[in-house]
């Protein structure tokens, strides 16, 4: 004995429509199927099942979208903080009349190097500073890319009419630079910051004398 | 879209100043503005030198990158070997061969389409970074 199914065609059409929408990622369907649920109707169970499932899926998708948005926000925040730390970690310090020091810490990629160069040159030009010391003691890996960034920065400083020395060249760094065949010719390099300062003062024609026989 | 016709050396200045205005309006900083107008100067000069005349088209970009797109179109002799033309220091005239490779370093995207005898189209884009 078969049970009667009301409005079969239109209900099947609605089911199909809902499934198609769900397939394309749209889950907000009108769950209300018929005015009153008729559980004798064999299609009702299927309809209820399908619509409840779609509804659940919709909620899950919403939830996971929210999650991934939260995750994205957090990633953005981390990126912002990373940038802030980078900027904080590269101060441009005036250590003497006409002498700036740029103590580099961390890695040097193209973007950071461009930002640094821009900040440094703007500073040099605004303060008309004659000598800049770039100290790379805090740069862990000086590969050919990093060396090239440094060379560009030095070249740009020199175009302004200022001079530049790179200090903090550790023995390993000297080795890598030579092994990589990087040509630092034309760029003044010194092993440490103290020597850099000495060089800068010489260049500015200062002479530091220790007072003798202090009373 | 703004179009600057290149026929005379003076038009190179017109192209770069038109581009500079658009770049400034879009919010590019001074260094990027200088990078863009320098690239334009190189590519507009190539039109003037090698094709005698052509057009520089300037457009705003919004998707997927906000920025500026500049298209250089000429119906000159075309470039036989694009890879070679992009090599630092290679020039068919007595130039320094810095124009194409240098311009490419100054922008975020550069595409060249060229057919010998038909002409050359160079597209460059610079994107606004947050």
């Amino acid at each position: 004995m078969s049970k009667r199914v009301k409005d079969l065609d239109s209900r099947l059409e609605r089911l199909e429509g809902a499934l198609t929408l769900a397939n394309t990622g749209t889950f907000d369907i009108d769950v209300e199927v018929s005015d009153e649920l008729d559980f004798d109707d064999p299609l009702t169970a299927v309809e209820t099942g399908v619509y409840v499932l779609i509804n659940d899926m919709g909620e899950q998708v919403m939830e996971s979208r929210k999650r991934s948005q939260e995750l994205q926000d957090k990633l953005n925040l981390i990126e912002k903080q990373r940038q802030a730390i980078e900027e904080l970690s590269t101060p441009i310090i005036k250590i003497w009349d006409q002498v700036l020091v740029l103590p580099l810490i961390g890695t040097l990629d193209t973007r950071r190097s461009q930002k640094l160069t821009e900040a440094l040159l703007t500073d040099i030009s605004a303060t008309q500073t004659k000598v800049t010391i770039i100290d790379i003691t805090g740069v862990p890996n000086v590969d050919s890319a990093v060396a090239n960034h440094l060379l560009k920065t030095v070249a740009a400083v020199q175009l302004l009419g200022a001079s530049c020395v790179i200090t903090g060249i550790r023995p390993e760094v000297a080795q890598t630079i030579v092994h990589l065949g990087v040509d630092l010719g034309g760029v003044e390099t010194l092993s440490n910051l103290a020597e850099g300062l000495q060089w800068a003062l010489n260049r500015l024609k200062y002479r530091i004398l220790k007072e003798e026989g202090v009373q | 879209m703004i179009v600057v016709r290149i026929k005379d050396v003076g038009d190179i200045i017109k192209a770069r100043s038109a581009v500079k205005d658009v770049a400034e309006k879009l919010g590019f900083g001074i260094v990027d503005r200088t990078r863009i107008s320098t690239a334009v100067s190189e590519l507009a000069r190539n039109i003037y030198l090698f094709a005698k005349e052509g057009d520089v088209q300037i457009e705003e970009l919004s998707n997927p990158h906000k920025g500026i797109r500049i298209t250089f179109i000429d119906h000159g002799p075309g470039i036989e070997d694009i890879d070679l033309a992009l090599k630092d220091g290679w020039s068919s005239s007595n130039g320094m061969g810095k124009g194409l490779p240098g311009a490419r370093r100054l922008v975020d995207l550069m595409e060249i389409e060229s057919q010998p005898g038909k002409g050359t189209t160079v597209i460059i884009e610079k994107w606004l970074k947050g």
Partner: protein
Amino acid sequence: MITQSIPILKLKEFLLVSIQTDLHDRMAEQLQYDILQHISKTGAKGVLIDISALEMVDSFIGRTLADTARMASTLDAEIVIVGMQPAVAITLVELGLSLGDVKTAMNLDEGYTLLVEQLSKNGSNQIESEEKEEVSIDDSG
């Protein structure tokens, strides 16, 4: 098209060129010619080229400046490029251009001092340029 010319002034024993307008190729070539003519006429030993108003230096202008400096040195004159803007310097380096051995200075004062120093180094002039300052540092505490 009218080619404006850029004025070349005398600054004591040197020449001063101040570029105040956007340069196109023909103007740059004309300027090179004018500078060399002035050097030869006046016997000037140094030229200061102030480019602080230049918003960009492309490969053509860069090459013209570098060439002019080399040509001037064969006429026994030194050229100093003065006041390049930071954005221009950064772009020039990224473009891959080097101005060769061309001397640069941040401002006219320093450019002038540089020329004077250069002259006395070359021995062709007796201008006194040593101005050593002494700083004493008290390291007793």
